[in-house]
């Protein structure tokens, strides 16, 4: 503080401006207020009019025609801690990654974003070859990336789930850590392709509880494997799936499947849609369903048409 002259000699509001000191905030470079055009501060409020800026990540869409993805903050969480990557470099090849930041961990939004950004390109590079190896490499890259994201204000280190899919010339390979899921809805019967790394799934596997009872319990969502600096095991579980005909692959976070866990239930939600509905239309439809069901968590839905 600049010595004694800091105090007001005359008292009142008619003092001359002393503009030599900067405003007490750092301004995010390049970001302009949607309301007044002023510079937006690092905490997301306009430095001019004070209005809180919408976070562009609250709702994002990727539309690649035969593959599409949508992520949405939902109605109750203050931020969208889900993240996704989707690429379809040529007909017959697509890769998708969905990470769900663990809300109880610190800086989860940054963590999930870092994981997706690391996993996406690795998966894309290697997807044309051994899909299982590509999933393992990509998951390792995601783990390395999230482990390097700093905690903010204490708490558990940033953590997230990961589910990734490679669709290559009609064969689907899925890898995952945590409770984000992949489903098949189409020819040969609807089915869930992943098995959650969660307390509920462990109870079901061990035969202690039925699935609907286990998933209704408070502990249901406690995940037993995750990515992050404090994760015990980070190698993904991997399954291969050969679709026998036309259908859709749905890769999603629990913000969707909380309201439609059974594969048949999820598939039935698509009944009102035209059979040739685009993947983006399907993603919108499923997201609206989750929002109308309460929108309690962040929602991410990726749809691949087969």
């Amino acid at each position: 503080m600049a010595g004694d002259d800091r105090f007001c000699e005359a008292c009142g509001s008619d003092l001359p401006l002393a503009a030599t000191q900067p405003a007490p905030m750092t301004e995010a470079a390049g970001s302009r207020c949607a309301t007044c055009g002023g510079a937006v501060g690092a905490d997301g409020y306009c430095g001019q009019c004070g209005i809180k800026q919408p976070d562009p990540h609250d709702h994002e869409e990727i539309d690649l025609g035969w593959a599409a993805g949508l992520t949405d903050r939902g109605l109750h969480h203050p931020a969208n801690e889900d993240a996704m990557a989707l690429e379809a470099p040529r007909p017959g090849l697509a890769i998708a990654v969905v990470c769900d930041g663990v809300s109880s961990s610190s800086n989860a939004q940054q963590g999930a974003a870092a994981a997706v950004q690391a996993a996406g390109p690795r998966l894309l590079d290697a997807a044309g070859g051994d899909a299982k190896a590509a999933l393992i490499t990509a998951t390792a890259a995601a783990q390395e990336a999230i482990a390097a994201v700093p905690s903010i204000g204490g708490g558990d280190s940033p953590s997230c789930t990961l589910v990734a899919a490679v669709l290559h010339d009609g064969e689907l390979t899925v890898g995952w850590v945590g409770d984000s899921r992949a489903y098949w809805c189409g020819a040969g019967g609807n089915q869930r392709l992943t098995t959650d790394d969660s307390w509920a799934a462990e109870q079901v596997t061990a035969g202690r509880l039925t699935e609907d009872v286990a998933e209704a319990r408070v502990e249901a969502h406690t995940i037993t494997r995750w990515l992050g600096a404090d994760a015990p095991v980070t190698e993904p579980r991997v399954v291969r799936f050969q679709p026998s005909g036309a259908g859709r692959v749905i890769v999603c976070s629990d913000g969707l499947w909380n309201y439609a866990s059974e594969a048949d239930h999820l598939a039935s939600l698509l009944d009102p849609l035209a059979p040739d509905a685009t993947p983006l239309e399907v993603a919108h439809h499923l997201t609206d369903f989750a929002l109308n069901s309460g929108g309690h968590d962040n929602i991410t839905v990726v749809v691949l048409a087969v």
Partner: protein, 426 residues
């Protein structure tokens, strides 16, 4: 090393078109060791005691004797290494200790010498508080970086200098040091000492009985020795097209900082809070904003604690417009409590003024409201003081009668202590 935390208590929801945002910001400082000895690593501190030695101090003789004893106790309480001096106040200020116009560092030896000098002080002459303050200021200026604290004791009105001289001297001291003011007996003017205490971020109180002086001086010095960081400001940023209606300290006592603001830039102003020890204070911030659409969220103010121009803690005051009346009509308990405490201080001061002016109807209504507010908020200290000035028929409805004869000391105690607030539990 002192660390600060700042927390906001408010209802951030406004109805459609709502413009007034109220918040209580609680600031807590911890970990400061207080002023230390020269080699002890604590911050450097200066203590100046201004002792009224005008003629009236010898009537009765116990007054000056008690004042000398209290000053001796205060000197004993100084930590070694603290710079200090004692001023004797008459028609002008002069050095009681040391002889030269300078500060000395507290040691066993200088404390002994100071107490011996104070014991020799005699009463004569008049009262010129402005002149005493100006001498104190010149002493503080010799140690500009230190934490500056003064004690001013008087028993009479400021009648040996013009009011202009007093105001000008006070203006010259503004921001240079903090000063706690005490009036002994009942012949001094509450408004004069309140002016000094308000300008110099200090407290004002009455010591009705000279016997109570020693404990009070000890408490003031102990508090001053506990300060670890000085020149702390609240820096308030608010967006364009908004007005900061007021920034008030509301606990432990009410002190309106609004007139003391200095602009940092077009949207930011600093409000001085003086020196801090390990303590917690509450501030009421009231902002008038331009309404935004329902659903919009605005940062109405960013309240920062600033030490040496560095932000050490921050709290956000928000406004969210909603059409949900359940949300927007909820009154925050902290805001309501301190709004009541501020009104309490105001109606006491207005009621006593009306009583002095012979306007019994206004006095009865204001002091009745005060009784009601004090009872509602559980402010027992003020309730007790009010009961010495009015007969309370019904505290709940505020029905009171003025007492026929009131001890002047009781009235002055009520006046000086009207700004003391009870703390809200968030």
């Amino acid at each position: 090393m002192t660390t600060f935390t700042a927390e906001t208590y408010q209802n951030e929801y406004l109805p459609e078109g709502g413009t007034e945002v109220n918040a209580i910001v609680t600031v807590t400082a911890t970990g400061g060791g207080g002023v230390g000895s020269a080699g002890g690593g604590g911050p450097e501190a200066v203590e100046v005691i201004m002792l009224d030695c005008s003629g009236s101090m010898s009537q009765p003789p116990t007054k000056l004797r008690s004042a000398r004893d209290a000053t001796a106790t205060a000197i004993d309480c100084l930590r070694d290494g603290v710079w200090f001096a004692v001023i004797q106040g008459k028609d002008y200020g002069s050095m009681a200790y040391p002889g030269a116009q300078t500060l000395v560092q507290a040691t066993a030896e200088t404390k002994r010498a100071a107490k011996a000098a104070v014991a020799q002080l005699q009463a004569s002459g008049g009262t010129a508080i402005g002149a005493w303050l100006t001498l104190a200021r010149s002493l503080f200026e010799t140690r500009p970086a230190a934490i500056h604290h003064a004690i001013l004791l008087t028993d009479g009105r400021d009648e040996s200098e013009t009011h202009e001289a007093f105001v000008s001297a006070l203006g010259g001291c503004d921001g240079r040091f903090q000063c706690d003011c005490r009036g002994v007996g009942t012949k001094w003017e509450v408004s004069e000492l309140r002016a000094v205490a308000t300008a110099l971020l200090g407290t004002v109180d009455i010591i009705p009985d000279p016997a109570g002086m020693e404990a009070d001086f000890r408490a003031m010095i102990d508090s001053a020795m506990g300060k670890a960081v000085s020149r702390v400001a609240l820096r308030v940023w608010s967006p364009q097209a908004t007005t900061v209606k007021f920034v008030k300290q509301v606990a432990p006592a009410i002190d309106d900082l609004t007139p003391k603001r200095t602009l940092v830039n077009a949207l930011t102003a600093d409000y001085p809070t003086g020196a801090w020890g390990d303590e917690s204070r509450d501030y009421h911030v009231c902002i008038e904003v331009k309404p935004a659409a329902v659903g919009a969220e605005m940062l109405a103010a960013r309240v920062s604690l600033v030490v040496d121009d560095e932000v050490v803690s921050q709290a956000l005051v928000k406004a969210i417009w909603t059409d949900d009346a359940v949300l927007s009509t909820k009154i925050n308990q902290s805001v309501a409590h301190y709004t009541g405490q501020a009104e309490l201080a105001q109606v006491i001061q207005e009621g006593l003024e009306a009583r002095k002016a012979g306007d019994d109807a206004t006095a009865t209504s204001k002091l009745g409201r005060a009784v009601q507010l004090a009872a509602e908020s559980g402010n027992e200290g003020t309730t007790r003081l009010l009961a010495k000035v009015v007969e309370v028929d019904n505290a709940q409805t505020g029905k009171v009668r003025l007492k026929g004869s009131v001890d002047a000391a009781d009235e002055m105690a009520l006046d000086t202590r009207s700004t003391k607030t009870t703390r809200v539990k968030h």
